[in-house]
């Protein structure tokens, strides 16, 4: 899912970098306001753990394997804003040290994996538990959060490739969506069992690690709004290309 350099158009690269930079800057200010030093050190150690978790490869098909991503887990355990910073740091290290994901494409990868992933995972987890809070529902919430936090970033990446004129929308959504829906099952299972283990051994870590919950839920909506604006911005840039929204607008929808 890590988009390498050269895959995105300049317009998509610029918009995703600016949008991600703004959201990460806000996340830093949020962490400075609500996290003390102890939380930050803890966050850093957990970042190393999530980074190490990403070596957990599991087979998803003939000759194909996926690995644990950790966006939903970070979002649930730390809250979405700290998770955004954590996953951004992980992505930056992967881009520079492991060459997994591009440098110019870092903004797009941050948007997909460090912003959409944790926020979707956190929102799904909270929404399911709001319906009914029980041990079983924690498993269900963890599974759905892990699955959604894998599939949604993949769809966002597919849309960015399409807006860049690099891929056919049908093909790229089908391919990315299908494989990540399969990978998402494994991510969901690991996330659910992880949360189940914590509930059994240290339930205080799940409930006690998210400061300012109510404020966070408001900011979740705010961030999703910002993401929608970024996508709208991408569409604006893409519309000047004959292979982007203009093509769909005119040929598929029949407008001129």
């Amino acid at each position: 899912m890590h988009i390498p350099d050269g895959m995105l158009s300049p317009a998509v690269s610029i918009v995703t970098n600016i949008g991600s930079f703004a959201i990460v800057a806000y996340a830093i200010s949020w962490v400075k306001r609500f996290f003390d030093q102890r939380h930050v050190v803890l966050m850093a150690v957990l970042g190393a753990l999530i980074f190490a978790f990403q070596m957990l490869n599991f087979p998803v098909g003939p000759g194909t394997s996926g690995h644990f991503m950790g966006s939903a887990l970070a979002g649930i355990m730390l809250g979405p804003w700290p998770a955004t910073i954590l996953m951004t740091a992980v992505l930056a290290i992967q881009a520079f040290m492991l060459h997994d994901g591009g440098i110019v494409a870092l903004g797009a990868n941050v948007l997909n994996i460090a912003i959409i992933g944790p926020f979707v995972g956190y929102a799904v987890y909270r929404a399911v538990l709001r319906v009914r809070s029980s041990r079983t529902m924690t498993y269900v919430a963890g599974f759905l959060a892990g699955w959604a936090a894998t599939v949604m970033p993949a769809i966002a990446a597919a849309l960015e490739l399409w807006l860049s004129g690099r891929a056919n929308l049908t093909l790229v959504i089908s391919a990315m969506g299908f494989w990540h829906a399969v990978i998402g099952i494994a991510e969901g299972v690991i996330t659910a069992l992880f949360l189940g283990y914590l509930l059994a051994v240290r339930p205080d870590l799940i409930d006690g690690s998210q400061p300012a919950q109510e404020k966070t839920m408001r900011t979740v909506l705010l961030t999703l709004g910002v993401i929608a604006l970024i996508i709208a911005g991408l569409s604006f840039f893409a519309s000047v290309r004959p292979d982007g929204l203009e093509f769909v607008w005119e040929t598929v929808l029949g407008y001129e």
């Binding site: 390498p4 350099d5 050269g6 895959m7 300049p10 690269s13 400075k32 030093q37 102890r38 930050v40 050190v41 803890l42 966050m43 850093a44 150690v45 957990l46 970042g47 190393a48 753990l49 980074f51 190490a52 978790f53 957990l56 599991f58 644990f68 887990l73 355990m77 910073i85 951004t88 740091a89 992980v90 290290i93 881009a95 520079f96 040290m97 060459h99 591009g102 440098i103 110019v104 490739l161 004129g165 690099r166 891929a167 056919n168 093909l171 790229v172 494994a186 299972v189 690991i190 069992l193 992880f194 949360l195 189940g196 283990y197 914590l198 051994v201 240290r202 870590l205 004959p242 292979d243």
Partner: protein, 238 residues
């Protein structure tokens, strides 16, 4: 660093900040260039010129070019998967004629993606192989990257191997007890192991923070070299 001779290379004295910034500018220039409208000859010239520049840069930085090429090639499987289907992005309808026309007109798009992706990765590989991880993190500090990221990078660098080793030990232990663990049982094992490691990491994080406080931690990590450099010395450390 590996066996590469980065310390005696012609560009070894260049400030790492300059290396990173020049690499960033080069990657932006490469990825924003419009190669998709070039003809076959022009694309060949670009590829050959890029190869030559890459080899010269590798020599000047003291980096092994074959190793850098191999490392950069890791990006190709995913890129090729997207690139070979890229002309279909220009498809007007799903028919054999339309597909043939899309490939006939837009085949340079394939090479546009391949050249940019491989070239950009090669540049990052070159610059990162020319400096140690410690130098890289220190350089980011000097480039005024926010302190929280420096702390995260430092901890990722310091503790990832530790956790990887713990994961490996736990996985080996599980394999010795249940050598044919796969499918649902493997995922269940991963889930419980993740929870176990999380608690270990959490408790280790608390211990680390206590240890840092006892050594006078004030929110910033100590640097081996805090000496600043003037703007005029940006291009040379000597």
């Amino acid at each position: 660093m590996t066996s590469e001779q980065t310390s005696i290379a012609p560009l070894s004295s260049v400030d790492p900040r300059a290396k990173l910034l020049v690499t960033l500018v080069a990657i932006i220039a490469l990825t924003f260039a419009d190669l998709a409208h070039l003809g076959a000859t022009a694309l060949l010239v670009v590829a050959l010129a890029g190869t030559l520049i890459g080899l010269v840069l590798a020599h000047l930085l003291g980096v092994s070019a074959p190793k850098a090429v191999l490392q950069s090639a890791l990006v190709l499987p995913f890129v090729i998967g997207i690139a070979v289907f890229a002309p279909l992005a220009q498809l007007s309808s799903w028919s054999l004629d339309a597909i043939g026309e899309a490939y006939a007109l837009h085949w340079p798009l394939i090479f546009d993606i391949l050249i940019k992706s491989f070239g950009a990765t090669f540049l990052v590989v070159l610059v990162m192989r020319s400096m140690s991880i410690e130098t890289f993190i220190h350089t980011l500090t000097r480039l005024k990257v926010p302190a929280i990221f420096i702390m995260l990078f430092t901890f990722l660098y310091r503790f990832t191997d530790l956790f990887r080793e713990q994961i490996r030990i736990m996985r080996d232990a599980a394999r010795s007890r249940a050598p044919y663990l796969h499918g649902w049982r493997l995922l269940a094992f991963y889930g419980r192991m993740s929870g176990n490691l999380f608690i270990r990491a959490y408790e280790r994080g608390e211990q680390i923070h206590d240890a840092m406080l006892s050594r006078g931690y004030d929110g910033t990590l100590p640097q081996a070299d805090k000496g600043g450099q003037e703007g005029r010395t940006l291009l040379s450390r000597k």
